[in-house]
Amino acid sequence: MKKESESVKHYSTAIVAAKQVVNDRYCKLALEATLVAARARPGQFVMLYLPSQYGPMLPRPFSIFAVERDKGSITLLFETRGRGTALAAGLDAGQDLKLLGPLGSYFPEPQPGALLLAGGLGIAPLAFLAKSTTVPITLVYAVQKADHLACQPEDLSRPGLKLLLATEDGSAGFKGSAINLLSNQLEQASALYSCGPRKMLSKAASAAAKAGVQCFISLEERMACGVGACLGCAVKTGQGYKRVCSDGPVFQAGEVILNGKT
């Protein structure tokens, strides 16, 4: 994966251009943030400073899901989970908030035949990656059940993209684990790009290693600064702890240790 260029962090005011409540779990937020939109690369994220009426709150990291460079806007896709995402889901068009970004490393440009594996909300950076190129690639999008599709297949489709859905209960697409679906595709893949739950990443990385396919993964960890200063977002690697926010979130799979005491 590529290192963020050191000069592109911006702390600036963004304006909510549009909010779309996908369903009671998921929400899309389009933000006018010209500089971020101009520079964001797939895999990078932003820190959102949500205005809370009572006391300060840590900013929340969100992957960039889509970019409209002409409009100077970026879109985030998130699940309403705790306080931060509840506040984010409560924003309305026209409100402003602070934002820091684009942050972190990004995916290398996919070559023809690249295979993308998204688990759950892991779709956010991979949707951006899939749209950032026109070469033929395959995107496997795996969720527990059809209800958990944060993003509809028609939103993802583009010429040259082969989209495969997988659900654990079979309520949409392939029934069963994404890893099973993956194994059939891996042999021919030029590289694997993945984002999602740790356990899925770990299995995907092993499968890729076995198949001799390069694998890039995007990680999540609790964050405070988002810029590599506080050393809070540690992930264990062969060379000691690295920072998810600035050494990552995109790592080469072989670099990081995903199992055991991390």
Binding site: Y11, Y49, P56, K98, L100, E221, A229, K261
Partner: protein, 312 residues
Amino acid sequence: MEKPDLRVNLGGLVLESPILAASGPFGYGHQYRKIFDFSQLGAFIVKGVSSEPWEGNPAPRLAETASGLLNSVGLQNPGLKSFLSSDLPLLRDCGTKVIVNIVGRTVEEYAAVASGLDGADGIDGLEVNISCPNLKAGGMAFGTDPDATSKVVGAVRKETSMPLLVKLSPNVTDIKTIALAAEDAGADALSLINTLSGMTIDIDSGRPFLGNIFGGLSGPAILPIALKMVWQASEAVRIPLLGMGGITTSADVVRFMLAGAGAVAVGTGIFYNPEIVSALKEGLLEYMMKKKIYRVEDLRALAHRGGFAGDN
């Protein structure tokens, strides 16, 4: 109207502003230099440096709590050599004074870092973090015992003629005894407080949330505790105090000064607002103009002397 004078003398360090960056949250500084102007700071305190590299604690290392933050970074740092060759150069000409926070697991380790840093180009002072576990005495932090405090501070004092700050741990029965021990052993100023020991539990897994089980609590939640310790220390010692713990507003800055701090540091606050340093400085200036206080030194410990005349 006259523009208030923000200069303070912190144990021999003359600072242009009484608002400093606390050790840790800002790391080694270069990441934040792109985000805010370091010349707004009275001084920049570098994250803890040890004689050899420290790996730090397992993930997760951060948990947000009510108005607070638990961290268990575990003083991860690249060690003295790498700090001097890779990090310090990036701080030269950063626009403000640089104080280096030093950590160790034995008295000898503390002395070794101090000796290695003493007189290095680009360093204006040292801050000894005595909250580290004392490996030779069962793992209790040096800063929880007056004798251990004395030993560490004395050993560091021998290695340096630079202004020496000693950073106290709040996890003690009586902060005054520790403050006195540090002063007697040669501290030029005291920094307080470091984080309070705490933990949280993930009710879903039923296990401690942090990889290290325990972490240090910082942020607005701890401010009332920090303020009291500064108040008490200012009654116990004569050397100046650098107050910190939960500062997020200029009213907080003022509170620490009224309680006895000559200067203050902001730590966790930078996470909430990357522009906090200039916001605090502006707010402090506004307050001083309103109160007709033209030297920030005059705010120091005013609450011990009856506050402002009149009954506002």
